[in-house]
Subunit: 205 residues, 2 copies
């Protein structure tokens, strides 16, 4: 099944009620994350990490960290989309694939790494901003990919980040930015809510 | 022209060189922002604002605030995608359309508004996180919509937010989160850069 970008944007709505009897395969989870990571990141830093909460026991742990929102139990999977604040320290893994598969010379990859470090090192404010940007860009890509693959999705920013980190033993450098429940719709969901007129949120200068 | 979500994700790359002779219409800018705002926001807060920098004089102002990145001049338009940190104070405009067009009762819209205020009021950390999330989600939707409409896009997080705010007289509550150049490709751009294997950025639990 394919869906145009416009149709996916118009069809997507924040699903609250999921069919708890439906499951998702690891292959489908992998494909959703593969597509999500086609979103851009600054310097191709790929400063994100995805935890797919799929097992019953993991869902129970997430439930209390997500203020009891039942969709994290009923959805087939809930992604904890994290931003990494110290990805610059791990840039060699990106440099490696830039050289191996991206047509970038080793010398250029070194220059690239130098720029990454110059911007990120000792700059917690930039690190955190980039973590939020990258994780959110990836989250939108994931939701649209889910729509195309026939899934409903329910994004959440209402959760306790510290409780999520503790429940899943996340390293301190891995910041949970969004939760996205993915699965099959049950009855009772709202349609997409209305948007403000474009004129209210746009200035052309 | 339509493009599947997957094809749009795979075709999009960070465009650096744009054809400076090509223009975009205000109608096209409006349509891009309409599609961008179909991205979700917490509570449907719509805590974003888009400044479309299209005129030569506005582009020159943006150029220096964007560290001289020439694409902001060569692209047909560059969007300053902003997050709003005090949208909760302006929730009545959303409540109005929820009632008028979203099938929400006035009483429910009041409850909704109460929840928004409970979460956001006097909570600058949440306000800022939501501003970054919403603006980034909208940015990803805008880039994919641009791809489908035949445009190339170049996202930037490397700019001086204070200088952007000053150059465009942004209110203090309006935070520039990303710049997105949109236009037509010139020669010399990289293809999409390679991504890490999914196994490096995903845990299934």
């Amino acid at each position: 099944m394919t869906l145009s970008v416009q149709k996916a944007l118009e069809a997507r709505s924040a699903t609250n009620f999921f069919d708890a009897s439906k499951t998702i395969t690891d292959e489908q989870i992998n494909e959703l994350v593969r597509l999500a990571t086609l979103a851009p990141t600054a310097f191709n830093l790929q400063n994100w990490h995805f935890v797919a909460v799929k097992s019953d026991s993991a869902k129970q742990k997430l439930l209390s960290a997500a203020y009891g929102q039942k969709k994290v139990v009923d959805a087939s999977v809930t992604f904890i989309v994290c931003g990494e604040i110290e990805s610059h320290k791990n840039f060699d893994r990106v440099a490696k694939i830039l050289v191996e598969r991206g047509g970038v010379s080793e010398a250029d990859a070194e220059v690239w790494k130098g720029k990454v470090n110059a911007v990120h090192e000792n700059n917690p404010s930039i690190q955190k901003a980039e973590a939020f940007r990258s994780a959110s860009l990836g989250s939108m890509a994931l939701m649209l990919a889910a729509e195309e693959l026939g899934f409903a999705s329910g994004p959440m920013s209402g959760f306790d980040p510290a409780a999520v980190s503790a429940a899943f033993d996340l390293p301190e450098t891995r910041i949970p930015v969004m939760l996205i429940a993915v699965g099959y719709e049950a009855e009772g969901n709202y349609a997409q809510q209305p948007r403000l007129d474009v004129s209210e949120v746009l200035d052309i200068v």
